[in-house]
Subunit: 369 residues, 2 copies
Amino acid sequence: MTKIERREFIKKTAIAAAGGTALMMGCNDKKSDGTAAVVNSKTYEWKMVTAWLPNFPLLGEGAVKLARMIEKMSNNRLKITVYGGGELVPALETFDAVSQGVAEMGHSASYYWAGKAPAAQLFTSVPFGMNTQQTNAWLYNGGGLDLWKELYSKFNLIPFPAGNTGGQMGGWYNKEIKSADDFKGLKIRQPGLAGKVVTKAGAASILSPGGEIYTNLERGVIDATDWIGPYHDYQMGFHKIAKYYYYPSWSEPTGVVELMVNKNAYEQLPDDLKEIVKVCASAINNQMLGEFETKNSEYLEKLESESGIEIKKYPADVMNVFKNYTNEVLHELESSDEMSAKILESYNLFRKNITRWTNYTERQFFWEE
Amino acid sequence: MTKIERREFIKKTAIAAAGGTALMMGCNDKKSDGTAAVVNSKTYEWKMVTAWLPNFPLLGEGAVKLARMIEKMSNNRLKITVYGGGELVPALETFDAVSQGVAEMGHSASYYWAGKAPAAQLFTSVPFGMNTQQTNAWLYNGGGLDLWKELYSKFNLIPFPAGNTGGQMGGWYNKEIKSADDFKGLKIRQPGLAGKVVTKAGAASILSPGGEIYTNLERGVIDATDWIGPYHDYQMGFHKIAKYYYYPSWSEPTGVVELMVNKNAYEQLPDDLKEIVKVCASAINNQMLGEFETKNSEYLEKLESESGIEIKKYPADVMNVFKNYTNEVLHELESSDEMSAKILESYNLFRKNITRWTNYTERQFFWEE
């Protein structure tokens, strides 16, 4: 499909969706006490577009699990066909497709939409920011999700946290990093806010689609790349061509995955299906994290035992310099975008409080090396 | 999902639904393609007993939220009346009540049932054990929940993780702790496996019901007590009568909360309601943790600003000695109870793997003091 054909398709499907579903049938079950339990029997057939390759491990699989759970809980009254990136619309048009009603749902990560709304990227991860447990507390209980809803509302979208990668790894390097100076002239694939950070350190931030990273790293088009964690990185084969695997992921101490729902479509659902979608997103948020943590544990072991890679910690100098640059990047974001400033104010205040608590608890719970 | 997979799925669900409808009133919504969507309209009225005082903050409240979410998702087809401890049966008879079908559901913590099955306590928290994120990964993805199901199966119960306190605090002391020797003769309320640990250190482990702890601590019947974390501890008023608030909680680095369901009752539910119960438990597990973390952060600040308490870290000597005693206590449990041995084998293996991963990730994500 050309871009114009696709736009036409998007327009047509949007119209079809708006006029689409009129299969409502009520079914009243008269109970012994005389009250009627109204049973909703109208069925909905929805599309979920995703920013992942079809069945991409854990992320694309998570989207399918989410859909199946919703179908099962709704006894198939809400049916969801899941499309991998490129199957209905390109991965990076997920946001527009759901916003315009081409699909009713999307499963993706908010940092892809920085071009639509710069503040969106803050809901995936903040460099040197909160970890997963802290971020979830902020989202659900500290006002974070309310701000996210406010931001997406302008795009006719409702966001739900619906998965998490957990903490990631720093990335793969073919050059040893001894100080921040080693980033000068380094060609690195490091997208998002973190890309701006390494640029400040003198690196060349090179964009590289997922499918080309391996070849680019092998041929020296790039010297280094971030990706996800041991499980996904193993499948990319980076251990065959890179020498060093650096930690920690200062750029992604958490990785929130989102479910977005077209607001008109959501509003048309009866209350039970609305609640099912909401609760299911929260459950998959919880479960995907466990899957990532478990798979990454297993594949860290595999990576180490099957290859000669060195796992190295970024030197303190790099961490200090990058933390300062991160502050600069966040200040630039705040001063250029009002919504980002509002979100970071909430984020930083919440973080200050929870950090004190975490220092007495989670920080202490590392009993073993 | 491909179109073919989806068709297969629809076919399978249709068959499952058709076979499981003995007790239901059907309501068929004939769709345009000729397939019928069976709508379950039978209603269930269930009781949930809990081990918490009625509306006990976060825990009792969580039980009520869980019930309301299930009701909303099921459009009131599964109605649940929640009873605080003592309202229908005493708090500590929750297990028996659900096992025997007096109530269909119970919300509690598995370590209360050590007298029924010694291994049960391992599913709440293991002293010096895994934190919340690691424990959830073990339960959902590392075989932990399967073992828990196996254990409870003999009691006609199905367990679901359904809440978490997060990491707790060490406890309140009226005597400064400088070394493990200071526990000799100390009268301390410290229940469970941790009670056995402090006993090995020479302390007198004193049982004290929740309602009497304050008076006992004030009058010197006990010198020290554990409780939960800043939010609940503040409401107990311990800061008015104790000098020192110790961390970390070596005894409870996590606190898994359980939903147990009577197996016969669960088996009678149609598939959609079964899935609703299961998914809802997972969602409340996720959400309660955020509530605990947020409230504890707020009340830590309140405790510090409103009272003259000293927050102190257990000396390294105490931690080392207690860790050794914990190993002794766990070995005693393993050698006296086969199921405990089986569970600890799974727990320890999972922990070994995830600890290596966590050392590269979560352990590094403490950017601020």
